[in-house]
């Protein structure tokens, strides 16, 4: 047994309202830069739907993740070293920009500096790739709320696994949101795909990162990741991905997406696992056994042997204590949380509590009591379509664990209604799902009351490990990287490196003191990282622009 610590996340999908605050704050913090305009480390998908990038779950097409060989070993679905070498300059398994979306901006300048025209001025969309006019026909979240469902639903890789009849029925059945970040897998296929050894999984907390100095831009990680959560920065020519906001995590703060989550649906904490058994667990024969295999290598932080092992592995005492208080551990124990696509065999560590609300909606819509335990249990047994869909997402198609999770959530609703309305603690409801009333009330506290301190149990990093940690070593200070906080003498991306944690302060200060741009032109706010200027945002000092429609701007001096 080799005990290691993993920083993990669980998202309670019943609480996600699809507001995308996580996406926006994440983008603002991490990918509001040239070269990653199209990149959303965190995105929120409407399901059923095709996701971002479009159809990423279709591994027949993209070849992400691992497959088990006949001899019981794991190999990358996209092939081994030789296969990779043969494709190194031309990788057909790589999503194109249109599988993400063509990022755009608007010629905002028209709203301020338009010449006298017959019609009121308007800002047209312009491609951020070509600078040309464009009709917007895909975005980072095109099928939001099932918009355009008739055109896109048939391309949902999960739905295509289900029958035609099911698809038609599903249209009426339900909808939910799936927020996604990097899974920070225990067995990451992106790391295994990298020919340069630039991707690594941090020993201390399991966060998966790209070493920008080592990255050579081969992009094998992009194809290797079945979740398509590694992205290519087309300006720097290097890979980038969700960092689990390690600069915040290291000082005990939640990730940006968690901190800003309106629904308070995200949980953060450590789990201890047996690193010696990861590949064994990831190699079990039956896809449907992967969930249990992964559960089995998660270690009980209260077990004296595990504690001893953790100490032996150099895990600090306060981290062990944090693992014992971890909401992730608790939610895994309740067996209400499930991994996303365990069949990719990467042992993902961002798990989900499947949504019960769509089931409740169907029940109440049919005129029944959506919070009565027996009615709900019966509905969970009967509503094979949504349950089947959830199973394809979270349990490689095995409905039993989804059933079990939903039944516990249903029991919690019914049990707690008894408590709050009738002051009755009905143990029978708890027992029906293999729990006690006390356990249900503890789970209720964690899921429904969800206090900040209980949702986020994040031990801060230890200074004695500083040499190994990024924040203290400042490894994000690469050209064009998010560590580039200050505007240096040669523009927004030059100058000395600044620790990530203080970046925003510098941006703020720069906004106040920045000079105006020297040249007018198309405003590109997405490319504007908050440092220095954004082209065309403000009229040049002492200059007036004279422009004829369709022709490039011409300037003359004022007065």
């Amino acid at each position: 047994m080799r005990v290691m610590a993993q920083m993990s996340m669980i998202m309670n999908l019943d609480k996600c309202i699809g507001c995308h605050t996580c996406s926006v704050t994440c983008k603002q913090a991490w990918t509001n830069r040239t070269g990653v305009e199209y990149v959303w480390f965190n995105n929120v998908e409407t399901r059923p739907g095709v996701g971002y990038p479009r159809g990423y779950e279709d591994q027949e097409k993209w070849g992400g993740g691992w497959v088990r060989t006949k001899r019981g070993r794991l190999k990358l679905r996209s092939g081994g070293r030789l296969a990779k070498l043969s494709r190194i300059f031309s990788n057909p398994k790589l999503p194109g920009i249109h599988d993400y979306y063509e990022p755009w901006t608007y010629d905002y300048d028209m709203l301020i500096n338009a010449p006298r025209t017959a019609h009121t001025p308007v800002a047209r969309p312009k491609s951020l790739l070509t600078g040309e006019d464009m009709k917007i026909s895909w975005s980072a979240n095109w099928d939001d709320n099932l918009g355009g469902s008739l055109e896109t639903m048939q391309d949902d890789p999960i739905l295509t696994k289900m029958s035609e009849e099911v698809q038609a029925e599903f249209e009426k059945a339900f909808m939910f949101y799936l927020p996604r970040i990097c899974e920070h897998c225990l067995n990451p296929s992106c790391v295994a795909s990298c020919p340069s050894g630039a991707m690594y999984k941090r020993e201390e907390d399991g966060i998966v990162l790209v070493d920008q100095d080592q990255c050579r831009g081969w992009r094998m990680c992009v194809s290797g990741c079945p979740y398509k959560k590694v992205y290519f920065n087309h300006r720097t020519g290097k890979a980038e991905k969700c960092t689990f906001c390690y600069p915040r995590i290291e000082v005990g703060l939640p990730t940006v997406c968690s901190e800003t989550c309106v629904g308070r649906l995200r949980y953060l904490g450590l789990v201890l696992y047996d690193a010696d058994r990861v590949s064994e667990a990831a190699s079990v024969e039956d896809d449907k056994a992967l969930l249990q295999a992964q559960r089995d290598i998660i270690l009980d932080p209260h077990d004296p042997a595990v504690i001893e092992g953790a100490r032996a592995g150099g895990i600090p005492e306060d981290w062990i204590e944090a693992a014992q208080r971890s909401p992730i551990w608790k939610l895994m124990q309740y067996e209400v949380a499930l991994p996303l696509h365990p069949e990719y065999r990467t042992m993902p560590m961002v798990w989900y509590i499947p949504p019960l609300s769509p089931v409740v909606d169907v029940v109440t819509g049919s005129g029944n009591d959506g919070e009565d335990a027996r009615t709900l249990f019966a509905a969970i047994d009967k509503l094979r379509i949504p349950i089947g869909y959830l199973a394809e997402l979270f349990t490689a198609g095995d409905v039993a664990p989804v059933d079990a999770s939903l039944r516990r959530l249903a029991a919690m609703r019914s049990y707690m209604r008894g408590v709050s309305i009738d002051d009755v603690r009905d143990e029978r409801i708890a027992n029906a799902v293999g729990m006690t009333g006390t356990e249900i009330e503890e789970m209720y506290r964690l899921l429904a009351i969800a206090k900040y301190e209980e949702r986020y149990v994040i031990p801060s990093a230890h200074t004695e490990q500083a040499h190994a940690l990024e924040e203290m070593a400042c490894s994000l200070d690469f050209e064009g990287g998010p560590g580039m906080g200050g505007a240096g003498p040669f523009g927004s991306s030059s100058g000395p490196s600044v620790p990530v944690a203080v970046e925003n302060f510098h941006i703020l200060a720069d906004r106040q003191t920045a000079d105006r741009p020297s040249t007018p032109g198309r405003v590109n706010l997405l490319n504007w990282d908050g440092n220095g200027d954004a082209d065309g945002l403000f009229p040049p000092t002492g200059m007036t622009e004279v422009r004829t429609p369709g022709k490039p701007g011409k300037r003359k001096e004022d007065g």
Binding site: V24, T105, Y106, Y108, H119, T120, V122, A140, G147, E151
Partner: protein
Amino acid sequence: MTLEPNGGGLVPGKFLTASDLGGEAATAPRAEFKTVLLDQSGAPVVPNGSLGHRFTPEDEGSWNLDLGDVTPPLSLADLADTNESVEVLLPRFDLPPEAGSEHAGGSGVVVRGVPVRRVAGKLVTTVFDLLLAQYGVARAGLPGEWPSGYDDPTTPGTPAWQEEITSVPAEQAARLGREFADNAERSGGRSMILMGAGTNHWFHSDTIYRTFLALTTMTGCQGVNGGGWAHYVGQEKVRPLTGYSQYATAADWIRPPRQNIGTAFWYLATDQWRYDGLPADQLASPLARGVFQDRTTADCLVESVKRGWMPAHPTFSRNPLDLCDEAEAAGKEPAQHVVDSLTDGSLSYAVEDPDAPENFPRVIDIWRANVLGSSGKGNEYFLKHLLGTESAVRASETPEDARPRDIRWRDDAPIGKLDLLMTADFRMTSTTLFSDLVLPAATWYEKYDLSSTDMHPFIHSFSPAINPPWQTRTDFDIFGSLAERFSQLARTHLGVRRDIVAAPLQHDTADVMATPHGVPRDDLPLIPGQTMAKLIVVERDYPNLAEQWKALGPLTAKLGMTTKAVTYRPDVEIERLARLNGTVASGPFAGSVRLDSDKRACELILAFSGTSNGRLAVQGFRELEKRTGQRLAHLAEDHEGAHITFSDVQVQPRSVITSPEWSGSEHGGRRYTAFAINVEHLKPWHTLTGRQHFYLDHDWMEDLGENLPTFRPPLDMHRLFGDGRPGTTRRIGGPYAAQQTEVTVRYLTPHSKWSIHSEYQDNLFMLSLSRGGPTIWMSAEDARKVDVRDNDWIEAYNRNGVVVARAIVSHRMPEGTVFMYHAKDRTVDVPIAETSGQRGGIHNSLTRILLKPSHLIGGYAQLAWAFNYLGPTGNQRDEITTIRRRSQEVEY
């Protein structure tokens, strides 16, 4: 309730009041505002707490809900000796009117029985009995038509009846009703209706609200934490209300302020009234007695203004400054001069001639609002008549025979009324786009300010994270600079003048007893404050405006501060504020408290409000104790020494103190819920009966058929304005397909999940997470009818204008209805419309202001005007639109 003859039968009439009882009761002061109930013997009782007890000195201490030993029967059937019952006629509106008799209004009459008795010679029943009749709750022995059960769809009130209208299954409606009531019973009233903004945006929103309130009141949920009615419309709850009102309305210098009802102001200023012509009698009950005969809703507005029910500025056809000069020349009091001039016809109301050049607005200053991209209904009319820009108004003006009776029609409508539009904002909105002057404003993170909401009990501060960048200034500095310059110019141009303000009959004052029994009379002379608005002369020291703005005026100390009929005396606070803020060193107002910075203004608001100053809260409760005779001050006494200052709220948001400014209680750390003080401490509601009302007995309510909560369907735009009929398609043989078809659908503009009105949804991140420009959601069925696929460019038009957008086709949309989310500005990705040849519109290009007469009633108990409380709504949900596919080659 009295029952009155109408046609061949009886209808619900007026509240029985002490004045009907004769004898001693009838001679009591304000007897016509003291409603009556019956005790268990059937004898009439005049209970405490009605409006008649609220303002009279004789009734001090008896404005409360304490019924003593009296237990009023809810129904007369509960009294053993009730042995009579009659049929009453109740209007219904669920069916369309018979062709040819639209002007009768409504669609039919239901006959249902109620138990009755005779009191003081009048035939009476109870409100509860009428309510049961209205809802079709059958009881043995009563005459009339009753449903055979919940599953009877043939008569109004049953679950099966509503299913045909709402498509909510009857079983589900019945189950929901049972659960709501059962939960309320078991939890002690913790059933709640949490409503969105949508219900408030239907033309008949008031009937929807009243239905909600009827349900939550009947189930005992009002005033209960976790129960009642959570109106999620906006977040406007100014908790430090008294101080805010002093500052916002300059009540320390001049009272009263001029405040308008925005809906009616824009309706006239943008000339939407010229296209409306909505006959008020088409909204009326089939049992109407002719209040609205031959009149349009615009005429109702004129009547409302002339009676002093609703404010309207400019009020008169001449400048009120000049009216004062005229009065002085004539040696008369200005109010008398106005009354005389109105009587002899030499002066009229501006609403009677809104297109006269002297009556329409010339300069509008917009402060952080987006009337042209978000809130203003009838956008194209704004553009045409107010601004004179390109516009896509498609409607014809009202034909001669249908025009308002009481408004002067000028054949040439003014185009471009405004000389100057100025906007202070920090975003480029449709409004700034059309403004002559844009004053760049600081954001929340660049200034000091206060914030409070109805969503939580805290007062927040804004503190600048950075200074206002570039040329931006804070709102405070913008207004300060304008005031300085104005004052300089005023020395030459205006000087010190007397002004006469027409102030409407005001909520929470004795004004609300202007209309006994809710019967407006035409046989009375003009008496300001009774049969017309109050006429109040004020002095305007224009050259010193900026100096006044920077100092606390004398009226606060002299007159106190009155909020909801409770007057606060901030004598200690003024002294303390003088120490905190300092005093003005020199000039005409030397020695006054300084208000020359945003922080100092915030200090004033906090010092002068009960919610943030415990001494004033206690003081207000003590005054209310005198009026009610109930113990109340203990709700705030534990905070009597607490005074929240601006630096306190900068440290952290502060929970407010329980205060008579509001009806909830935070006493002992509980959370605010409306009406807790009324329910728990027997403080009356500010209504006629002092109780929550199911029944409204104003004449206008009766003629609208809305004495009781009732179902009114959306306006029939096809019948009223000749638009297409929802659900119909039409071949148009357009240029892009020989067999092109268009479809008419209902048009809703709900709030989107991604914006607060126009804010946020239009930043580049959010646009990248959606469709990047204006869109209209439509159903697969409707899209198929007009050959539209997802993301195709479409045009939506009706009589009000045209919108170009891309279609979002989704199976989640119901057939027959489209959405265009609220506040799609004209700023990004709006092409030229084929239909108009002009820049495609915004969501409000397809809407228009429609006034409902019931919203214009004033001067009667709770039906009286108060700023931001009672007045006509901006509604747009009843609209329909026609949709067609357009050329996919768009031009900008």
